[in-house]
Symmetry: C2
Subunit: 299 residues, 2 copies
Amino acid sequence: MFTLAIHGGAGTLSPSEMTPEKEAAYRRGLEDALQAGLAVLSGNGSALDAVEKAVNSLEDNELFNAGRGAALTSDGRQEMDASIMCGRTGKAGAVAGVKNVRNPITLSRLVMEKTDYIFLLGDGAEEFAREQQLPFEPDAYYITEFRKEELRKAQQKPAGVGKGTVGAVALDRHGNLAAATSTGGTTNKRYGRVGDSPIIGAGTYADNRIGAISCTGDGEYFIRLVAAYDVACLMDYKGLSLAEACRTVIFDKLKPLGGEGGLIAVDPAGNAELVYHSEGMYRGWADERGRKEVAIFDR
Amino acid sequence: MFTLAIHGGAGTLSPSEMTPEKEAAYRRGLEDALQAGLAVLSGNGSALDAVEKAVNSLEDNELFNAGRGAALTSDGRQEMDASIMCGRTGKAGAVAGVKNVRNPITLSRLVMEKTDYIFLLGDGAEEFAREQQLPFEPDAYYITEFRKEELRKAQQKPAGVGKGTVGAVALDRHGNLAAATSTGGTTNKRYGRVGDSPIIGAGTYADNRIGAISCTGDGEYFIRLVAAYDVACLMDYKGLSLAEACRTVIFDKLKPLGGEGGLIAVDPAGNAELVYHSEGMYRGWADERGRKEVAIFDR
């Protein structure tokens, strides 16, 4: 049995901005990412490989705010954050404020596997990426017309308009869980701002006994709530089901604070939850029984 | 009623390195920090002010690994991390990879109070510190003979030898809690490495309903354990006492992983816990009833 869930961010284009062509392109992007993860899982691969490949696909797709197409900071740069956690070992890797690295989630995984550290920042993370011979891309690769236009719009309004994050969670046939999250942050953010995506416990968490969780949305609220680990604690210490725990964090904790966002999660039984409090969330899930779905707005 | 607890780091000098003169100096540093926090609390000040002032005192003291006297990276630089959380509002602020800012904990507090963000990195955090007109110090202020010698020794051994963090937790007379943590990281760390200290949930957490927690030790383990928030969840969701929750995290979770470190915590009833699994922990606590204690090794 395996299960995979992905998100391409809460805080989508509004229904009025979403043309049929754009919607088809987003759905195709989600399908591609699901397919990349499913190929791993159906070949008896690991949850860790599956979430990395699914996130790589979203990072390489300029429609989503991670890797190519990352949101621009207030001074027109990209700065990317990512984290990954292995539910089998409890090990984790994360990077923040990295530029020009093609796939920040792969860099996070190498931090987890090749160093004694978990979290590397900026220049130090980029230096490590070069040592590991990861591909780098020039600024022009990341900075799309869409994000430039979004920045122009955002600069006429308060900061933090454009947002979005990508992520994946998986259970593999070996009973192992993993979670991964990658982002370009919020459009027009202050240079140096980091949200929940690279923070183990806030944006990403995985434990084989409990579940794997990846969050998206107003990062500052997810940090304050320690949202990903809170889902796990509500299950482990309070006995809530995966669905109850996810809904508690999003509707009883995030929503009253005035925050928007969502999360995806899987548990060791293969249940998947995709819960959000926002106009929409780019998302998809699939399992070994052949069920597969992608969605953007409410079903 | 008020209570204050502080730490100057788990992972002290070993008893054999600790001369009577050094021990007296460390104890005086802890006394000074306690006094700085107690002056706030006894004057009806806030827990937030108390933890900031106590940590400022430790940051300004070159004996402790935060602010002046911060541990050096593998290329001989200092890079500091800090975070603070207010139990009344649930708001938080954090900085990582900052250089030359005299008091990183004060910068974290300004991030919390003057921005819509929680977490600022490196150059962006320093730019914000300049806007806020915080004092900066030249490299020579931070780089002490002790830390240079420690770096020389560490470079003959695997990374991460020197460590230490400072922190404070407080309950004030108004029933508000706060937690603060500040560090220079580990000696000979790779440039860009960040531990648990600036991570809300891992190194620092506060909630008026539950408790305030500040951690110190092998940061990577504290990140994986989401240690500070785990103490809170064990109390809130599982009904453990402050003492039980702190001991569970340090002895049942950290120790089996092979990690060393400790934490300090206070709860809304004014109980204080200072728990560690390491050779010693620079620490102190005091309350309104006039009880006051500083210690380094086991009592």
